[in-house]
């Protein structure tokens, strides 16, 4: 397992040397959405608190870094942490409201969606933030401003982000924190009876998750050089974030990564293929069918099934 991971990492590090520009773009998207999925996984997967409004953190993180850069000339390398901190504050507010007042299941989902929608509507209506047109970043190609001529730089940054989030999730998994989150996901009342301060640990998970997601917002802004309220704060963004860990295996370390390697190329290729033949939007149908299949046949996600199959093969003489 450890050697396999190392080999995979080496391959990913070497890959940009041989990939076409389009393939590099696909890998950037794979890493970036796997990163967001891993960040979500901490609160949504391990702790089982289904946030469907993580777009709010992408938006707050991205807008903060972009505004600081545009207005004050602050480098996004610093601004990204300011954005992440603000996203964590928002995560703390949402988490406190939801967890303190015992909103569970669908009610918590609705609360998180509502906050993301408020963010979207606010960003669309505040002229200083660019309103509905959004915020644009002038391209300078200056690495100190998180801007690169070469796509491959974004490839390595996205990969580094993914490794960071996966490292954080790994560290949580191995500690008491991780065991407590799993217990909360399985049965909150029983966890509480065994000495688990459920409110505190759920809040901590939310803070870590929203901070990391906010960090991703800066990458989004300075990779695309623009922020549109509907794109960053919208429900589709929240759904994109959730889909990968669910398809790959929520609450597992490799689930979000596996999910992104399955879904991102599929989404891109089907968009390209159906778009060419004039069937705009048909890729969403393909997406939807795949999701139905996963929920029906792999409710735990793809990774647990894959891990069991590999273990069986290894056990065989």
């Amino acid at each position: 397992m450890r050697w396999g991971g190392l080999a995979a990492l080496l391959v990913l590090l070497a890959l940009p040397a041989v990939l076409s520009s389009y393939a590099v773009t696909i890998f950037i998207l794979i890493f970036f959405y796997a990163y967001l999925g891993q960040a979500w996984n901490i609160v949504g997967g391990y702790a089982g608190q289904l946030s469907a409004g993580h777009a709010a953190f992408v938006g707050v993180g991205g807008y903060t870094a972009a505004m600081l850069s545009n207005e004050l000339g602050l480098t996004p390398w610093v601004g990204m942490f300011a954005g992440a901190a603000l996203a964590a504050v928002l995560g703390g507010v949402i988490g406190y409201l939801g967890f303190r007042f015992g909103l569970r299941g669908f009610y918590f989902v609705l609360l998180t969606v509502a906050f993301a929608e408020v963010g979207r509507i606010a960003a669309s209506n505040i002229d200083a933030l660019g309103g509905a047109l959004g915020l644009y970043i002038t391209f300078t190609g200056d690495p100190r401003q998180f801007q690169f001529q070469d796509n491959r730089a974004y490839y390595y940054i996205a990969l580094a982000l993914l490794l960071l989030a996966t490292g954080v999730a790994w560290a949580i998994e191995r500690r008491r924190f991780g065991a407590y989150l799993a217990a909360i996901r399985e049965d909150e009342g029983a966890a509480e009876a065994l000495g688990v301060d459920t409110l505190r640990y759920k809040l901590l998970a939310m803070l870590v998750s929203s901070f990391l997601t906010g960090l991703g917002g800066t990458f989004y802004a300075f990779y695309l050089f623009s922020l549109q309220p509907n794109a960053v704060f919208g429900i589709p963004m929240s759904v994109e974030i959730i889909l990968r860990p669910i398809v790959g295996g929520a609450g597992t370390l490799l689930g979000p990564i596996l999910g992104s390697f399955i879904l991102t190329p599929l989404g891109e290729l089907s968009r390209f293929y159906f778009g060419q033949s004039g069937l705009y939007g048909a890729h969403l149908i393909a997406y939807g069918l795949l999701l139905i299949g996963v929920v029906l046949f792999l409710p735990e996600g793809a990774y647990p099934r894959l891990a069991r199959a590999l273990a069986r093969r290894r056990a065989r003489p």
Partner: protein, 244 residues
């Protein structure tokens, strides 16, 4: 000084007075049985003691510390652990990981907690089931797992809510012996139980609830022949018909 003391506990759910003005004390090292017909308020009393419900009136003190207003996790850390009548194992976690969650309350390091959990599993006779998911255990095993988890939090006082319900006579006997051993090791126990033979055999003293109120209290032999208890369980016409 008593280990646990409840004074004037009351809890109402809408039109139902589930527990009314309940007072009792439990001494250090004691095994106190709590019995009563279905709906008498036994589980509600447990929920009031363990912080899952807040009483409308009354107080609870544990080792001289007031408990009302504390959350269940804080009460657990003070040394008062409980089990649930309908067992609530973490179904997708292994038996060992289930118990480890309890052990983490006293041993923050996962490896130390796992070692402690393994020892507790062995003590309840589940040593061979460490790696089995809780969902794959039999009811008798899940009951013992529930007990093991609570025990792993290293309680001074254990509240056991019908740990024998649904067990066959052989399994019940194993459980009676297990509870006896846990008690012998110095854990005080408050036991809700419908199995009369078990509760009579184990308890030093028995408290009887009916319609949320205490109707009798005393040593097992006296309780078995107490007219109010027979009336509560069987109805008035059976009072005096029990063989001496």
């Amino acid at each position: 000084m008593s280990l646990l003391e409840a004074r004037g506990l009351s809890k109402r759910f809408g039109g139902l007075q589930a527990v009314h003005d309940l007072s009792f004390a439990l001494a250090e090292g004691e095994m106190l049985g709590l019995i009563g017909p279905n709906g008498a308020g036994k589980t509600t009393a447990f929920n009031l003691l363990s912080g899952f419900l807040r009483p409308d009136a009354g107080s609870v003190s544990f080792r001289g510390r007031p408990l009302v207003g504390l959350k269940p996790h804080a009460i657990c850390r003070l040394g008062l652990a409980r089990t649930f009548q309908l067992v609530r194992p973490f179904p997708r976690m292994t038996a060992l990981d289930n118990v480890k969650v309890g052990a983490l309350a006293r041993h923050a390091h996962p490896a130390a907690a796992a070692a402690r959990a393994a020892a507790v599993l062995e003590r309840v006779g589940l040593a061979g089931k460490q790696g089995v998911r809780a969902a794959g255990l039999t009811l008798a095993e899940r009951k013992r797992l529930e007990l093991a988890r609570a025990l792993a939090t290293e309680p001074t006082l254990l509240l056991l809510d019908e740990v024998m319900a649904g067990l066959n006579p052989a399994e019940t006997e194993t459980m009676v012996q297990l509870i006896g051993r846990i008690h012998a090791d110095g854990v005080s126990i408050l036991l809700i139980e419908h199995n009369m033979r078990a509760v009579m055999a184990l308890s030093h003293r028995i408290l009887v609830l009916s319609f949320g109120e205490r109707i009798a209290e005393g040593p097992p032999a006296a309780i078995a022949n107490h007219p109010k208890v027979i009336e509560a369980y069987l109805g008035e016409e059976y009072v005096g018909t029990a063989p001496a």
